[in-house]
Subunit: 379 residues, 2 copies
């Protein structure tokens, strides 16, 4: 695969910005648009690695913050990287750890050099710099690495956001330089993504992207959205961002989102997504199906002998009834978490796969409206 | 399979009472000696049904007490029985519910008619009689049903034990009569086992068995052992029991036990076992392997890249390192419970499978001593 380009843009819809493409790394191909299941701590919660393959996951996401703390980067290096540690031979993207550090508002301190924080586990002190998170991700050996940035909280003053922009752009430059100077540790290539911030300010978002795109990165992500702002504002800023992002590189909207967030963002030209929603909601008894969202705890499912999702052929979807899954969730059985998590990830991967098909046939926007009837019906 | 006998005794060792046999029901063959994974609430905790097949489980156990309370017998009847409800097409044995009711000392009341108890979930009042638990197990549709008995607590006075014996034998007769008068509900045959009690008294155990064996049952179990008595006493009473139990019917030692408990009881002529130990201990971070027992939390496993159990080829055993499993257990990841549970059940099923092979080749006692070195080394 050494001769294949990292990203090939295959087709763009005629009636919107939706696109189909392909990312190629040494761990295989990733058709885009794609959803990446979140495997925080070297495991996608309640789902086995072989089950991720069954539902056609081509890439998963690992959280650098969590892996840095447990088991820690040197343990993972000892095992030959994250792929070998968790026995996953497909793609892995790791975030920079910045998002988790900045979410822990109380226990971190930003300086021009980086960010000091305390472990949420034992309170111990740690420091992330633009260079250190490159080093950590070299040790993790992810196929795609992310730069350290400050995820500006919502809401934030314009002055704060503009200052943060300068800081994060400076960090991005340092990260890029450091990335160029360092080598992968395990014989497979690693790619490096920058992250556009700019809070909720259109002009700052635009400026950030223009300046970021002058640096050498394999792709650009959009960060700092889906942090509490109105959904329409998120869509606006996504739309604006993809107007300025280069067409020949993948665009990754970080941490998004609901099924309709994903389809609406695909329509606006996004290629990559990750979100804890499918697995987290599964553990809370909510499943996403091709017939809509279901609350498994609802007594109306008690006697239902319908398959969990007749529209999907995953193990969970097709082998068990809603009534059985209702029982497992009500009795807090671990198998309930397993089956619901498999179902939700199968659904999310079906969603992006179907999006790809519908973009190709020109039916994407029509199909999106059908999904809207299921997932966000107008009152 | 209608013409095959329920049990065929194939071979008995020359140097001990260990035996190989085969149970045949409408849900397939069960080679004996066998271990039955415990699927309390219509699921073996943290293990998928297809994974039970992978590790060659031919029969699992369901708990009538738990299923009666949740989802309840009529819900399961609505789904066409427990096999269909949980999508398991191999064998199921259900206990009578008695053991759970009698373990809840505070909230039950025994009368000659049966036992009144309160639900551990919501405190609601319920009543089990010898006849009612037959009816419940008809609705569950298990391949093997157990009679209601009183599991005499340890220690217990002889007078109490003797009175309980009379009560339980009377109940066994009622259960047998009721079983003869009722029919299976789902088109497959159901078999009915009695349970020998008698506390820790050799003469009462013998009397119980002799009187029980005059009734019409498909097999006889030994109950009320492994309840806190010294291990040697358990072995003695097991030994005595198999001296009096008919050779042409399977013998089931209920709720036993550790790997060595199982091998020592096979040596004394037992054919069937169940125990929560492999799955419960897995969830507490203890695994059983062909190299011995391991505490996964122990820091010494942190950097181990050895397979979980190189001696077994289950998915968990062969695809992941001890270091990875250590990490999953330490971070309380659900996948850790899944893999450890698969490993422990794979080990228990390997244990009885190897026992069968070693009995056939005349090496059973020799091999048992080897396992003793691993599992109960002399100081």
């Amino acid at each position: 695969m050494q001769n294949k380009p990292f990203f090939e843009l295959e087709y763009t819809a005629e009636d919107c910005k939706a696109r189909i493409g392909k990312i190629t790394t040494d761990h295989g191909e990733i058709p885009t648009p794609i959803f990446m299941p979140v495997g925080t701590c070297a495991t996608v919660k309640a789902v086995e690695q072989r089950e991720l393959k069954e539902i056609d996951a081509s890439i998963i996401l690992g959280n650098t913050y969590h892996l840095y703390l447990r088991p820690n980067e040197d343990v993972i290096k000892h095992f030959g990287g994250l792929h070998k540690f968790m026995n996953w031979d497909r793609n892995i993207l790791t975030d920079s750890g910045g998002y988790q550090v900045f979410s822990l508002q109380d226990i971190r301190k930003i300086t021009p050099e980086g960010v000091e924080f305390r472990s949420h586990i034992d309170g111990s002190k740690h420091f992330f710099s633009p260079e250190s998170v490159v080093n950590t991700q070299r040790k993790l050996g992810s196929d795609i690495m992310m730069v350290l940035d400050e995820c500006v909280p919502y809401p934030a003053e314009k002055k704060y956001t503009a200052d943060s922009l300068e800081q994060s752009l400076k960090w991005a430059k340092q990260a890029s330089d450091h990335f160029q100077k360092t080598e992968p540790l395990y014989g497979h290539r690693q790619f490096h993504f920058a992250i556009g911030q700019g809070g909720m300010y259109h002009d700052l978002r635009k400026e950030y992207i223009e300046r970021m795109c002058q640096m050498e990165f394999d792709a650009f992500a959009i960060g700092g959205l889906s942090v509490g702002e109105p959904t329409e504002l998120m869509y606006d800023l996504t739309d604006l961002s993809t107007d300025y992002l280069p067409k020949d590189k993948p665009r990754y909207l970080m941490g998004v989102g609901t099924p309709m967030n994903i389809l609406n963002s695909i329509e606006r030209g996004i290629d990559m997504f990750d979100c804890v929603m499918p697995t987290r909601n599964a553990r809370n008894g909510q499943i996403f199906t091709t017939r809509g969202r279901l609350n498994l705890r609802n007594a109306k499912h008690k006697l239902s002998d319908e398959a969990i999702d007749p529209g999907l052929d995953s193990y969970a979807s097709s082998n068990f009834s809603l009534g059985y899954l209702h029982h497992l969730i009500r009795t807090e059985e671990i198998l309930g978490l397993q089956l619901a998590s498999q179902q939700n990830l199968a659904f999310y991967l079906w969603l992006v796969k179907t999006a790809r098909e519908k973009i190709r046939t020109g039916e994407f926007r029509h199909w999106k409206r059908e999904m809207e009837e299921l997932y966000e019906p107008q009152k």
